[in-house]
């Protein structure tokens, strides 16, 4: 009888643990996926990274109770995991850090008519730190202090990088607009 009771309690405990984990971590899985995709620039690799991090966090779920800001903590863990992945596969598929946005040929222009898509492509071509910061701020809506924790920088450095990223995108949008206007008048 006591064995049955123990087994029931164990199941209940595991069920509670699972629900708690879902509440703590899995609700951030979309944001974690977007962050991983932004850093790795590859959907499948990003999904793998989310999976890997979820497993790691599940294994250390008891320690999560002591974490003050779960979102910032998981985002930081995800960024570190992605940077490790890039370091491991540096020669394989990572684009150069300082790759500039390139003018597209007419064929590519027809293919990518949507300016929003082109802007996402421009962001993808920013250095890792800048594209991570601009997305954490403008997509995820995180505070500068949270971004500073995730990127292991101070708030001022985050602000500088955010400004640089936005300025670069702005200048590329203006350049794009100018080129479109010239094409129309021709």
């Amino acid at each position: 009888m006591s064995d049955v009771r123990n087994s029931t309690f164990l199941r209940l405990y595991k069920c509670m643990e699972s629900i708690q984990f879902n509440q703590q971590i899995l609700r951030y899985s979309d944001a974690l996926f977007r962050l991983a995709k932004s850093i790795l620039r590859n959907t499948e690799a990003a999904q793998d990274a989310v999976q890997e991090l979820t497993v790691k966090l599940w294994e250390r779920r008891n320690a999560l109770d002591e974490v003050e800001n779960i979102q910032a903590f998981t985002m930081r863990s995800m960024r570190n995991l992605c940077l490790d992945t890039i370091r491991k596969n540096r020669d394989e598929d990572e684009l150069p850090e300082e790759l500039e946005y390139e003018e597209r040929n007419p064929y590519q222009q027809t293919e990518q008519k949507d300016l929003a898509i082109r802007i996402r492509s421009m962001i993808d071509r920013l250095p890792e730190l800048q594209r991570t910061i601009i997305r954490m701020r403008d997509v995820e809506g995180l505070e500068l202090a949270e971004i500073a924790f995730i990127t292991s920088l101070n708030e001022n450095a985050v602000s500088v990088n955010l400004s640089r990223a936005r300025q670069k995108i702005r200048s590329q949008i203006l350049k794009e607009q100018k080129r479109v206007e010239e094409t129309i008048w021709k």
């Binding site: 979309d30 999904q47 996402r120 640089r164 300025q167």
Partner: protein
Amino acid sequence: MEMMNELLEKYFRGETSLSEEKELKHYFSTGNVSAGHEIYRALFDAFEEEKQETASGPLRKVETRKRSVKHSWINLIVYSGIAAAVVLVLWIQLPKQQPDYAIIHGVRIDDPEYVQRYAEKRLSYVNEILKKGLRPMKSMETVQQNLQLLNKIKEIHDKIMQQEEPHNINN
């Protein structure tokens, strides 16, 4: 318009607060965007589009990965078995290669050139013996030839005698 201009400039300098950025997002999501700001609408649209992206079932993928790990173990065992079977078959089928050697006067000689020279020498010796052994046979052939000549003489003699005998009877 003027306020939005200032807010946009502040935004690009990275100095806006989250609430100010919310205000900007709201402004660009409505239909009342001035022509001068229209160019930046796509920027906020891009952020909004990205926000809609979701991870496609990470827990389902965890199970998939676990299964693939199990599969890799099974594959490892199967392939190891196949490799072991192939090695066993080759070991049984292929003739075992042993080093060449010869025993000469009770001594093992591993030098093939020496063995070859020794064998050639022995063979030439055997050849000499055979040649010597066949000489008496040649003498026998000569005797037989001479005997055949004698036989022929005897036949001729017998024929002559046969021809002469009837002549004597008639006489």
